[in-house]
Amino acid sequence: MTRRAVARALVYLSLIGATLVVLLPLGVVLLTSLKTERETADGSGALTLPRHPFNFHNYVTAFRDGGMLTAFGNTAVILVVSVGGTVLIGSMTAYAIDRFTFRFRRLVVALFLVAALVPGVTTQVATFQIVHSLGMFDTRWAPIALYTGTDIVSIYIFLQFVRSIPLSLDEAARLDGANAFTIYRKIIFPLLKPAIATVVIVKGIAVYNDFYIPFLYMPSQDLGVISTSLFRFKGPYSAHWETISAGAVLVILPTLIVFLALQKYIYNGFMRGATR
């Protein structure tokens, strides 16, 4: 074999190795979720196949007893409202910052810039007191307000796009008698579609997966989102790996479907979202 061929073989070997490392833990959880209680306890090991591959009993238990229906409902409400809010807030901020000259404009821009440097986890102790004093503690409004209010990344994404929209469009509309709100609503907002798609994807995945905020701000059982409801499996099902696994698979499955359907956009979205 030539040196090149050896190098090529090593490259594929490393890729196959990485694939195994990623897929093995997930695959085993899928296997476990299809096993019966006796099968997981009989010491046959984690890699044995379930005797009845279409045994969805654990999924029924996890879904019903784990309150997953409420969890998906709560997650959906919070997701839709806060993603919608983020799109609106982000695009309005970007429009105001890019298209107007006003007093304190630089200060406003600086406020948003500096806020981007402050990681949310560090200020949570004090944020908690504010959320509490606003009477939002243990309501769906707490996560909604926090997700909507602190998203600097989406403002940047919108800002990039607003800048690329030619000013002549605004001017033409203004000559036709449109005011600033009409221009925002009828010209800027529709042209921001690619940015909106990016923000919806990045924000949507972040909200769906977040644990910290709902865990701190919505302790009530019936306000559980998927993260916190799944987390509650830890106590009552601690010895029942088949039920916990089914719960985990239930939570991962929507992500997998969305990922497979929107792969290209998700890659682009994350490249944009994470770098700016």
């Binding site: 833990p25 476990t32 910052i97 986890v121 102790v125 004090a126 925002y184 992500t255």
Partner: protein, 326 residues
């Protein structure tokens, strides 16, 4: 009615203007305003109407908490009672002198070490997958997918993975290495395991960032290098590495602040037991279990200062770092 500011032709045409940072952008356009037409009041008010909600949220949920946090950090407040006493720098002294409180910084070391491995591996995979490889999209998808998965689900997946007789033990058994190892049982092994999970989870994110950066390097450079007979390593060393330097430095800052603020995986998997307590777990416990809001605030201020310091040092070391790929 408000008037937008006219842009200079250069700004309009140049792609560079689009990539301009907000601050620079602001300073460049602070020229004289064209003559007002209708009521002056409306003209002045319009931008603020758009900014009302964003600014209110920004101040309420970012700046007010920071100000309050700094204030609490000098008190002995428990977060509930109406009474609080000013205690000076006592909380800060406590953090740096009480060994059990300071311990969490050492735990961050495991995550920091893990992020070095993570960055190197992500760089390796991004490089090989930006050249032609069979099943490239499949491998890209597999590597990236974990970064989209719910943290609680990942926690459970790996609790089972590290369980006695769980996935890891079974796999090692296949290779004839029968262990009965309690992976999460001792501080060192538990922290290494948790840091490993963090690599598993976040590698894909770094990988995608690097991949994007490598793809934005002009293709002609590779072609020229290929003609000159440059080997892959030389192409990596002299084209890829300089080309993605901004993203690389950004990743380094994010890794440092990420290592310091590790929370989800250790909280879900061990709850901070067996010496795996991280800074954020400790802060959450101090504040919400032991009602030591003052002390927790001081801890949070310390964390925030460290993160700001790291960011500042990085900006000094790499002054002109423009990290936009858009």
């Amino acid at each position: 009615m408000a008037h937008a500011h006219p842009r200079t032709p250069g700004q309009e045409a140049g792609n560079a203007a689009v990539r301009e940072r907000a601050v620079q952008h602001a300073s460049r356009r602070a020229g004289p305003e064209p003559a007002p037409r209708r009521t002056r009041a409306w003209r002045l008010l319009t931008p603020w109407l758009f900014l009302l909600a964003p600014l209110a949220l920004l101040i309420t949920f970012t700046y007010a908490p920071i100000a309050n946090m700094v204030a609490y950090s000098f008190t002995d407040w428990d977060g509930v009672s109406p009474e609080l006493h000013y205690t000076g720098a006592e909380n800060y002294a406590e953090i740096f002198t009480r060994e059990d409180l300071f311990q969490v910084f050492w735990v961050s070391g495991y995550y920091l070490a893990a992020s070095v491995i993570q960055i190197v591996a992500a760089l390796y995979f991004a490089t090989i997958l930006s050249f032609s490889v069979r099943f490239r999209n499949f491998f890209k998808g597999v590597l990236f997918f974990p970064s989209l998965v719910n943290g609680v689900a990942i926690g459970f997946v790996f609790l089972y993975f590290f369980q006695d007789g769980g996935t890891l033990d079974t796999v090692l058994g296949l290779f004839g290495h029968h262990t009965d190892h309690a992976w999460l049982g001792t501080p060192v092994s538990a922290n290494v395991s948790l840091a490993g999970v963090s690599v598993w989870r976040y590698l894909g994110m770094n990988f995608v960032l690097f991949l994007g950066a490598i793809q934005s390097v002009p293709a002609e450079l590779y072609e020229a290098a290929e003609l000159d007979g440059a080997a892959r390593w030389h192409q990596f060393r002299h084209i890829i590495l300089p080309g993605i330097r901004p993203v690389l430095t950004l990743t380094v800052i994010l890794s440092v602040s990420g290592s310091l603020s590790a929370f989800e995986i250790p909280y879900i998997m061990t709850g901070g037991a067996t010496g795996t307590e991280t800074f954020v777990i400790q802060t959450v416990k101090l504040a919400f279990q032991f009602n030591k809001t003052g002390l927790a605030s001081a801890a949070a201020v310390v964390l925030l200062l460290i993160i700001l310091l790291v960011t500042w040092v990085q900006r000094r070391l790499v002054p002109d770092d423009r990290v936009d790929l858009v």
